[in-house]
């Protein structure tokens, strides 16, 4: 009669002293898998400039029209770069086709997953907000 009780208590006690598998979210963040598909963002070179050459292939391939408004300009060295670039996260389906289409590895799905917002406007990213910033959250080896 008492044996099952002790067994149960032993299980409970064992768990009291083992490491918990839950995370104290939001204080604790979960590390996502390397292939996690967060939202698309524009990557930068070591010197901090965008890699994007405004070829618009991501815009063409995007199945949900989340990428739009790419405006190109010519730089001093005759390079092509974007001066406007919009990513509409309300439309993005995180499929990663943009990343696959990009010939310059200039757009990449990051590992961010906290996309809920009170204000919808915050989900419309302009070129500056679409550009990679929080480098601590990126995997180092994805290129």
């Amino acid at each position: 009669m008492i044996i099952p009780f002790i067994k149960g208590l032993a299980t409970t006690l064992r768990h009291v002293f083992t490491k918990p598998i839950t995370l104290q979210y939001p204080e604790e963040k979960r590390q996502v898998a390397p292939r996690w598909r967060g939202h698309p963002e524009l990557t930068v070179n070591e010197d901090g400039r965008r890699r994007c050459v405004a070829c618009t292939l991501c815009m063409v391939v995007c199945p949900s029209n989340a990428i739009k408004g790419i405006v190109a300009a010519e730089g001093a060295e005759h390079e092509k770069y974007p001066v406007a670039f919009q990513i509409d996260l309300t439309r993005c389906i995180f499929c990663g086709l943009c990343q696959e289409a990009c010939p310059k590895a200039a757009i990449k799905l990051n590992n961010l997953y906290e996309l809920a917002q009170y204000d919808k406007n915050l989900l419309y990213l302009d070129i500056d907000r679409a550009t990679q910033k929080k480098s601590e959250l990126r995997m180092a080896d994805w290129l």
């Binding site: 050459v53 405004a54 070829c55 618009t56 292939l57 063409v60 190109a72 300009a73 010519e74 005759h78 390079e79 092509k80 010939p103 310059k104």
Partner: protein
């Protein structure tokens, strides 16, 4: 027809076609890179090789192999596929992999071919060459590292444009497209850009502005000269990004790079009303109410409706000009209107009409076909025929069939580039002879059999010499056109001696005789004359002399044998055909003599004389009269005398500044309508861009008419065209891209003697010719700083280097040019193409106002001093 098989398929093909053309026509794809349907086969890339039996053991290029009876062609044997694969790898060695930023990406023929032939890797290596990019040239950017050395650009430049500005430099793997000089010095037509299969040549106006697949393509007609080239406007987000001619590729610099004029910073946006000498912005209703009230006040006064004078525009559409004349004829009930072509193109028509008569068309029926937009509701019946001068006016596509062209007083390429391209096609025919008569050395001198370098103003003396030599050598010559008055006409040259002509014109006697001999032999002679000739004080006499010459030697039944007067603006011919003339209704129907109105010249005379019949109000449909008419200071003084001047224009031109009311109008891409080109082709203009507050001409005229209580029926250009074409038997059967008149012509004429006198009196040492430069048309193109204004930003005095030396002038110096009428200061450019004693100024620019120098002609004697 010949019978052959391609890949086992039995095919019948016309003789003389190449294997590639036949395969294309039968839906068999042969890969190709250097072939372009607008060019002759080049045979540079060898991608299109096919196996041909019977034939040599090696494969042959399909683009340059003509089909034969019994030929068996294999397009995809393993052998030719291996050759193509190898050739593609050779092309792709070190091809710059810049597709993401290359403007050609998406419409690149090399991209397509690489996909089609599934070339996935290049296992060859070669030294990488330093790319000699040309970023400096205007409008054209060159990327030799993308070049596939197909040679298309060189062929189009040499054979079709005649500029010969680019060629290959080095040989073999090191072959590179070069121009000898940097930056590029050429006509900047940009045809090389659009013919390039890859992105080796890039249009700078288009560069990086959009990808090829993003644009909307709309077919339109070029508004920058009377050539009427049909092209495609490529737009994105309501802006024109580039212009292309997909079919023949050819466009001139104005056509290809002139479109920024639509976005010119000085475009008028709102109507302007002058209060106390200053313009203020007004609403459309206010401006139109003011004009309507003023016109009604004048019409009700003692002066009557006759005191309102209208000047149409060769820039405006047929529909606008038709409504304009309807406003005057039906609304005001007068014939008091004219168009500025009076000083050029109308003279050509008058000269031709004097000899060949006014048009008369019979046998025209109402069309039973469903009404299509811009299709005439009339159709020429089986018995339809016509007579009169429109039937001697040439069509561009026929010009290559001529066997002789006499070009008199026209620098063909600047006046009308498409006519120059057709002349080059005519020159493909080895029996074609080009006789060029011009005081200056022009581009076509290089191709001319005879160059007659006469002294400016002696055109009619030269022609009288040619007639004299002609009649001396061919006393019994019978014109092939039924002509009256030949004997009397011959008589009029009795006193002419060739020696005298030679001394007056400066043309050698032998040359005149040779010209006359060539003219007498010609089986299909064409005569081309330009505004340089027509804008003289006796331009009409010049046209008359040429009309007589055509009556003598012309063979109007033979294709190509025609007169080609250059209509300088997009609708110079249309504005006349729709009746914006004081003595002609639409379709050149004559107005009874006592009802005919005044010409612009008459009006200016009346204003000068202070005649009570001088107009109280002038309504101008555009066109900068001050910039275009001779004797600017007088014109300005007289226009200032007009109490009420209304100008409808896209820009605040010098003429518009004199106006009391200025109404801003939509320009070509913003309005719908049609143009009649110099060769009678109907070009249809779609509205591509939103008008942004300005209104199209037809709408303004319609609204003004409405406010004055006239029912002009201006609901839409399509409907206006229908009404207009209904009244024009001459346009029977005319539709988009068709060239009228479309009925059989019965040409007959009467010789009318002309005055063989000198057109240029005076004693000053230099003769100034005011004419056209290639990169501008009228003043229209001078408003766009991003357009062709970059190529020719200002007026420069072209001067013979010897003359300059004796005057102590060097290139870039400022010269003071003085005539009996006035003086201007202008920078000098040395030009060996000018004969000694002759100088040239372009007419297009606001500064300096060149017509301050002239009296009644585009020629004037001047003194040049160091300024």
């Amino acid at each position: 027809m010949v019978n052959l098989t391609i890949d086992g398929r039995a095919i019948q093909a016309p003789k003389g076609k190449t294997v590639l053309e036949v395969a294309d026509a039968n839906g068999i794809f042969i890969p190709r890179l250097c072939y372009h349907p607008a060019l002759k086969p080049i045979g540079a890339c060898r991608i299109c090789v096919v196996e041909v039996k019977p034939g040599p053991p090696r494969p042959l290029p399909a683009c340059a192999t003509v089909v034969n009876e019994g030929m068996e062609v294999t397009t995809n044997s393993p052998r030719v596929q291996a050759i193509r694969d190898e050739l593609m790898k050779l092309v792709l060695i070190n091809h710059a992999l810049e597709c993401p930023i290359c403007d050609k990406g998406g419409e690149c023929e090399l991209q397509d071919l690489t996909h089609a032939l599934a070339v996935d890797k290049v296992d060859l290596e070669a030294v990488k060459l330093a790319p000699n990019h040309d970023y400096e040239s205007l409008f054209v950017e060159r990327h030799p590292d993308r070049c596939v050395t197909c040679g298309r650009c060189i062929h189009v430049c040499r054979d079709h444009v005649g500029a010969m500005a680019i060629n290959f430099m080095q040989r073999g793997y090191f072959t590179e497209l070069g121009s000898g000089v940097l930056p590029l010095d050429c006509e900047f037509c940009g045809s090389c850009i659009d013919i390039c299969p890859v992105g080796a040549l890039i249009n700078k106006l288009w560069k990086y502005r959009a990808r090829a697949w993003e644009v909307v393509k709309i077919e339109s007609v070029c508004p920058f000269c009377g050539g009427g080239c049909v092209y495609e406007l490529h737009t994105k987000d309501d802006r024109i990004l580039r212009v292309r001619n997909e079919k023949s590729i050819l466009l001139c610099s104005k056509g290809r790079f002139g479109f920024p004029v639509v976005e010119a910073p000085d475009r008028l946006k709102t109507p302007l009303i002058k209060d106390n000498g200053n313009f203020r912005e007004a609403s459309w209703d206010e401006a139109l109410d003011l004009v309507a009230a003023k016109f009604q006040e004048i019409a009700a006064s003692d002066a009557g409706a006759k005191a309102i004078y209208g000047i149409g525009s060769a820039r405006a559409t047929n529909e606008a000009n038709y409504l304009f004349q309807k406003f005057f004829r039906q609304g005001l009930g007068t014939n008091q209107l004219d168009n500025p072509g009076r000083y050029t193109y109308v003279r050509a028509l008058k000269g031709l009409a004097a000899v060949f008569g006014s048009p008369d068309v019979s046998g025209v029926e109402a069309s039973t076909a469903l009404p299509q937009p811009y299709q005439s509701p009339l159709t020429p019946g089986a018995e339809a025929k016509g007579s009169g001068f429109p039937f001697v006016l040439g069509k561009f596509n026929d010009l290559p069939k001529a066997d002789l062209a006499l070009v008199l007083g026209a620098d063909v390429t600047p006046e009308m580039p498409p006519l120059g391209w057709k002349l080059l096609r005519a020159l493909d025919n080895e029996n074609f002879r080009l006789v060029l008569a011009n005081p200056r050395h022009t581009k076509f001198d290089r191709y001319a059999s005879l160059s007659l370098r006469y002294k400016p103003g002696t055109e009619r003396i030269l022609l009288s010499g040619i007639f004299k030599a002609f009649f001396t050598a061919n006393a019994d010559y019978i014109p092939s056109i039924s002509a009256k008055g030949l004997e009397e006409f011959k008589e009029s040259f009795k006193k002419v001696t060739l020696k005298d002509v030679a001394s007056k014109t400066g043309v050698d006697e032998a040359l005149i005789k040779e010209t006359a001999a060539l003219l007498a032999q010609a089986q299909a002679p064409a005569i081309i004359c330009g505004t340089e000739l027509l804008a003289q004080d006796k331009g009409e006499q010049n046209a008359l002399a040429l009309a007589d010459l055509f009556l003598l030697i012309g063979k109007p039944g033979t294709p190509g044998s025609a007169v080609y007067p250059v209509a300088e603006k997009n609708n110079s011919r249309g504005v006349c055909e729709v009746g914006v003339l004081p003595d002609r209704l639409p379709g050149f129907v004559a107005v009874p003599e006592d009802a005919a109105g005044l010409t612009i010249a008459d009006v200016l005379d009346k204003l000068e004389a202070g005649d009570p019949a001088a107009p109280q109000a002038v309504y101008m449909l555009g066109g900068d009269l001050l910039r275009g008419l001779p004797h600017r200071s007088l014109t300005e003084k007289l226009l200032k005398k007009v109490p009420f001047l209304v100008v409808q224009d896209a820009f605040l031109t010098d003429t518009a500044k004199l106006a009391q009311v200025v109404l801003p109008v939509a320009v070509h891409a913003e309005q719908e309508g049609s143009f009649i080109s110099s060769d009678g082709t109907l070009g249809v203009l779609p509205a591509v861009l939103p008008a942004n507050g300005v209104r199209p001409d037809w709408q303004i005229i319609g609204q003004l008419g409405e406010k004055m209580g006239y029912k002009l029926g201006a609901s839409h250009p399509k409907q206006v065209f229908r009404e207009l074409a209904q009244n024009m038997p001459l346009w029977a059967g005319l539709g988009p891209k068709a060239s009228g008149p479309l009925m059989a012509g019965e040409v007959s004429g009467t010789f009318v003697p002309f005055e063989a006198d000198l057109s240029l009196p005076g004693r000053r040492p230099h003769t100034l010719i005011i004419g056209k430069v290639l990169n501008h048309n009228g003043s229209y193109t001078t408003h766009a700083p991003d357009g062709t204004l970059k190529l020719v930003p200002r007026a420069e005095l072209s001067l013979n280097p010897e003359d300059a030396k004796s005057l102590g002038l060097a290139a870039g110096d400022t010269a003071k040019v003085v005539s009996s009428q006035g003086e201007i200061s202008v920078p000098v450019v040395l030009s060996p193409e000018m004969p000694p004693g002759v100088v040239f100024l372009p007419e297009h620019f606001a500064e300096p106002p060149v017509h301050l120098l002239t009296l009644n002609s585009n020629l004037v004697r001047v003194t040049i001093q160091k300024g």
